[in-house]
Symmetry: C4
Subunit: 170 residues, 4 copies
C-alpha cells in the first residue's frame, strides 16, 4: 500500500454504505406482490457492531429500501439510515455535518452509477469486487469480497486494524 | 472483436430478454403452494433504466411469469412484458413492428431451446455464461456473466459504450 | 469415454432422481415454522420436459418432500414422485416394474449415503459435482454441475445426445 | 496431518457448532418485518444424524436464533440448542458437564469474534473456509467448505472416518 492510500485509511472516522450491491448482494428476491427481499451478511453485522462500539460513525444511503432492512440495521445500532434517496451526496453531507466529521474522514463504499458522486467526494472510496465498471474505476480500494458477501466487513476490519482498534490480535 | 460483430453491436436499437436464466438466475425458489419466486439483479435494473432514458426499446419475453416480476419490471419502466409465451418469435416481431425497429437492430439474449428461434432471427444473439449448450452455440456473443448475475447489465452497458451513449466515462 | 461406460449411456430408458442435493441444491431455506423451501433449476426442468416428450420415463425419490415441489414436478409432467421414502430401492423397483424397464436401463442420480444402495442397483449411477464422498465413489459418472445447478440437465442432455434424440444439433 | 492434530481428532466425542456462518451461510434473508431466514445444508443434516446414531453428542450455540431453526435441528435429533447466548463458553461447559465429556474431547466450529473464547477452550477448534480472520487464526483445522455449505459435514465425516465409525467405506 502506498503512503497516500495508507494516510487515507488512517484518517477514517466514519463509514457510509450503499445498500443494494454493497450491504446486500446485487441479487434480490421478488415476492408475488413485487416486494423485494434482500440478504444481509452476519460478518458485516459483527464488524458494524465493533465499529460502533469503538465510536466510529456509520450511515446507510440507498435509493431504495424497505421496512425489514431498516429494522435489521437499527438492531445493529446504525442510527443514520437514509432510504429512497435521489442524490446521495445530500444525506452524506448531512451525516458528516451532524457528527462534525470532514468528508475526507469518511469511507464510502458504493457499486454503481449513482454512487460515483459521493465516491469522488470522500477521503476513501471503496467498491465491492463485483461492482460495476464505473464504480471500480472510481474506487481508491476494491475489496476482494463481493457486495453482501463480506465487502463491508473487509473495509471496516481493515480500517480498525490499521488504526489498531480492532479487538482481535493486531 | 471482428468487424462484422462490431457492426452488429453498432446497429442495436432495441433489447429483448428472456426471463428465467437471463434476467433471473436458472435457480428459482418453490413456495409451499408451488409459486415460483425469482431473483433479479440491481445492476441489470440500473442498466435497463439507463437504456430506456437513452431511448433504447426493451421487451421481456418469457414462457412463464408471475405478478411480482411484472410489477418489478414495470417499475423500472419496461412497457413490453410478454409472459406465458409459447413461441417467442411472435411477440418479438410484434415488439419490433410497434417501434419500427428491424429485427437486425435487436439484441436478443436467451439461454435455452425455446430461445434458439428468436436468437437466429435477430441482429445480435447473446447468451449468459451459464446458458445451455444450444444457446451458447447459437450466440454471436457469450457474456462472462451468468443469468441473473449481471449478463443483462453486461450486454446493455457494452452496447451503449460502443455507441458512446453510456453516461460514465467512455 | 470407455466402451463399457458408453454402453451404459446407450441403454438408458428411464431416469430416477433424488431431490435434495440433486434436483435442488444441498442448501435449503428454513421458514419460521420449520417449513423447508427449495430451489429448482429451469434448465433441469426444460430437459425433463424434452425427455418425457421423447418417451423416457422419470421418477423422483426423496426421503423428504413438500407440497410445493410435488406441484412443480407434476406441472413438468413427472408422474412418479415418491416423497418421505425410507429405503429408496423399493420405489425404484416399483417404478421399473411399472414401465417394464430393467434396472440396468435406469440412470439414478444421488448425492448421499441413502442413495448408495439404488446407485449400486442401476445401470448408470451418477452424482452431482458437490455430492458426498460416498456418492462420488459409487458413481459411474460425476457431473461437472452441482445439485440443483444443472446436474440433472447434464445427465439428461448427455443421454439424449448419445442416443441422438436431443432436439438441438447433434 | 501431524501427530498432535491427529490425536486431537481421535479424542473427539462431542461437537459444538455456532449457527450463523457455520451451520448456515453468513448470508441470511431479511423479511419485511425484520425476521431473519436462514439456509441449512442437507449434507450437514445427514452427518449430524449419523453422528447422533453413533452416540456422539451435539450442541448448537448461537447469539441469535429463531423458532424455525429450533424445529429443524430438533427434527434431526439435536437436543442441546442454545439460542440468544451472550457468552458462548457458559453453555459449552454446561453441555460438556451434562454428558461427562471433557472440553478436550469437543470439536467446536466457529467463524467470528464471539467464537474465539470457546475455540481456545476445546480440544479441536475448527473454522469454515469463509470464517473471519480471527477465527481462521484460532482454528486447529480450517475446512475447505464454507459455512452452511458443507463445513459441518466435513468435520463430522472426518472425525468419524478417523475413528472408523463412518458407515461408508473407510
Amino acid at each position: 500500500m502506498n503512503a497516500d492510500l495508507l494516510a487515507r485509511w488512517k484518517r477514517i472516522r466514519g463509514f457510509a454504505f450503499d445498500m443494494d450491491g454493497v450491504l446486500s448482494p446485487a441479487g434480490l428476491l421478488v415476492l408475488e406482490d413485487g416486494t423485494l427481499i434482500r440478504h444481509v451478511n452476519v460478518h458485516d453485522g459483527m464488524a458494524m457492531r465493533v465499529a460502533l462500539d469503538e465510536r466510529y460513525k456509520i450511515c446507510i444511503i440507498s435509493g431504495s429500501g424497505e421496512e425489514g432492512m431498516q429494522i435489521r440495521f437499527e438492531r445493529i445500532g446504525v442510527e443514520h439510515i437514509y432510504f429512497g434517496v435521489k442524490r446521495k451526496l445530500t444525506p452524506l453531507e448531512e451525516f458528516a455535518l451532524y457528527y462534525g466529521i470532514g468528508l475526507h474522514e469518511i469511507l464510502y463504499m458504493g457499486d454503481d452509477l449513482n454512487d460515483i458522486e459521493p465516491m469522488r467526494s470522500v477521503g476513501l472510496a471503496a467498491a465491492p469486487a463485483d461492482a460495476s465498471r464505473d464504480a471500480l474505476e472510481a474506487a481508491h480500494y476494491v475489496s476482494p469480497f463481493e457486495g453482501g458477501k463480506g465487502a463491508v466487513r473487509d473495509v471496516i476490519e481493515k480500517t480498525l486494524r490499521i488504526q489498531q482498534r480492532w479487538p482481535g490480535k493486531v
